[in-house]
């Protein structure tokens, strides 16, 4: 009897704790959504509405109709850069990850560690020389300028995630393929890649997410309106219309949508891809 009570007590504590931290993690999303669905008058009352009242889409409509706001162009710029970067990183990264996990060659370990080291170098130390190089080679304010920088920055992460994934695929799979007459490259394309879809997807999402959200490099090299990405546009927005919190929150929600949906849909793959390298089985 006493043991049962203890168990129930523990159960209640567990649920309370889960409730607490879920509130902490979820509340900001709820709040920004709630703000974005209310008009200006409702936002500046002393008593805050926890349910949008009166409910309105007035903050969202100008984002799509008002050309001066530049939001849609910035969104398209962001999507283009993130998508192209992700494709390049997954293709090149999987070739290298295959070599690192399957082939013996001189310097394999050194190259791999050097790749990881680049990831630990502070972005700020690249910012100044990149700016100087970009102004000399006319890469400022171009989308490929951003892609070049992002590929160099994210390719090691993509390679690392794919490396963790390829390592878990049994070598027997390829051996059987090679007996059947597949070449190395053939077995990579026909046997290894199809079963590593989760790894490819999680590498792709991570690269996509980081490129979508990157700010400091973009704001430094993309100063013209036409080249702005969404994170830049949103900060300018905060400065320009300092009191228009409704429009600001609507933009924030718009910026959030694509990474959040991707992560929710593909989280199983993502967690698998991320933790394979960090947890020793």
């Amino acid at each position: 009897m006493k043991r049962d009570l203890g168990k129930i007590f523990k159960r209640i504590l567990l649920y309370l704790w889960v409730g607490c931290f879920l509130t902490f993690f979820m509340f900001p999303f709820y709040w920004i959504l709630n703000t974005s669905l209310q008009g200006k008058d409702a936002l500046f009352q002393k008593n805050l509405n926890f349910i949008p009242h009166p409910f309105t889409l007035v903050n969202y409509i100008p984002l799509f109709t008002n050309k001066e706001l530049n939001i849609i162009r910035a969104l398209l710029n962001s999507l283009r850069v993130a998508f192209i970067t992700a494709i390049i990183c997954v293709i090149l990264g999987s070739l290298a990850a295959y070599a690192f996990t399957r082939l013996r060659f001189k310097g394999s370990r050194i190259w791999f560690i050097l790749l990881l080291v680049t990831e630990m170098l502070p972005p700020i130390s690249f910012l100044i020389p990149f700016f100087i190089f970009y102004s000399r080679f006319h890469l400022l304010n171009t989308w490929y300028g951003l892609v070049i920088g992002y590929v160099a920055w994210l390719l090691p992460i993509a390679t690392w995630i794919l490396y963790g994934y390829f390592k878990t695929i049994p070598k027997d799979l390829e051996d059987s393929g090679r007996i059947d007459g597949c070449s190395r490259v053939g077995s990579l394309i026909r046997l290894v890649l199809p079963v590593s879809t989760p790894g490819l997807i999680s590498a792709g999402i991570v690269v996509f997410m980081f490129s979508m959200g990157e700010f400091i490099f973009a704001v430094t090299t993309m100063s013209q309106m036409k080249a702005h990405t969404l994170p830049i546009e949103i900060t300018i927005f905060v400065g320009k219309f300092a009191l228009d919190y409704g429009a600001m929150s609507a933009t924030a929600v718009l910026t959030l949508i694509s990474p959040v949906i991707l992560v929710l849909l593909l989280q199983k793959y993502l967690i698998e891809g991320l933790t394979k390298g960090a947890v020793k089985e």
Partner: protein, 304 residues
């Protein structure tokens, strides 16, 4: 033509050519990463030994380590260094403790566990700039929800400007950073917890261990590795934190949240102290590098 084709096939097939093939496969990554990064990095090292104040100067005047010495002697630099160290240590410590407590709960079986597990990842996927904007809005001193709740609960009796107070601005940024960064800690620690077999706990239970003893004697030693990975990657990430402080406080009030990255960026792109800023960026690089070296030594050792 035919002989060429068969030569290619031979080349791709022969074990003796494994290293050629490997070179062929890793070349694109090596060229893309080092080709793009190494020149700018060396160039910036060169610039840091000059005294240039222009992006495209006609000539460079070599001054050795003068800019580095200037930085180390500079009060503003030192203050930013202290702020950065406080930020990195506190935020990572809090993420570790909070992340462990959440991971322990998410390991238990309860209704809605899988939903809870997916929800906690979303903050991590949120672009940092958006995180900064949302929390800045919540910290607002006129109509912010945090002030509203604090007054409603009777914790404070009037609205306070949290982000403009020198003692509360940095903690506010740390809280925001925890919201964004703890999920990464949770994912890694939870993955570690799941590899611990249940028998170990049963055995400890038979020996009469309490829950707390089980945590320190069974759980902790087995999740040390993922915890370590989380702290190192988290530290490197927070040394480079820029976006949150930029959007929430711009380094204020009176530089109490001006992290080194923010200081460096202002020196480079607002004051155009290009050489000085390059030197400061190399000092930040050294700091990251020290942590990276610890990490690599640890990983090498644990794999051996």
């Amino acid at each position: 033509m035919i002989s060429n084709k068969s030569r290619i096939r031979e080349f791709l097939n022969l074990e003796a050519h494994e290293s050629h093939l490997a070179g062929f496969l890793i070349a694109p990554v090596i060229i893309a990463v080092f080709g793009i990064l190494i020149m700018p990095l060396l160039f910036s090292l060169f610039v840091s030994f000059t005294d240039t104040r222009s992006v495209l100067p006609n000539s460079y005047h070599f001054v050795g380590l003068a800019e580095y010495i200037k930085a180390i002697k500079n009060e503003d630099f030192r203050f930013s260094l202290v702020i950065t160290v406080i930020f990195v240590v506190v935020t990572n410590f809090c993420k570790l403790v909070f992340g462990t407590l959440v991971a322990l709960a998410l390991k238990e079986r309860f209704k809605g566990r899988s939903i809870a597990r997916s929800l906690i990842i979303i903050p991590w996927a949120t672009p940092l700039i958006v995180t900064g904007i949302i929390w800045k809005w919540m910290f607002n001193n006129h109509v912010g929800v945090i002030n509203f709740l604090l007054t409603k609960l009777g914790i404070v009796n009037h609205y306070i400007d949290i982000l403009s107070n020198r003692y509360s601005a940095l903690p506010a940024i740390i809280l925001t950073d925890m919201w964004q960064g703890t999920p990464f800690f949770i994912i890694l620690i939870l993955a570690g917890l799941q590899t611990i077999p249940d028998d170990l706990y049963e055995a400890a239970g038979i020996d009469g261990a309490t829950s707390i003893q089980k945590f320190f004697n069974v759980t902790l030693p087995l999740v040390r590795f993922p915890m370590f990975v989380a702290i190192i990657l988290g530290s490197i990430f927070s040394i480079n934190q820029f976006d949150l402080a930029f959007i929430m406080t711009r380094g204020g009030p009176i530089n109490y949240t001006r992290l080194l990255t923010l200081y460096d960026w202002t020196q480079a792109f607002k004051n155009l102290n290009i050489a000085y800023a390059s030197a400061v960026s190399y000092l930040i690089l050294l700091l990251s590098f020290a942590i990276a070296v610890i990490y690599i030594i640890f990983v090498q050792k644990s794999e051996a």
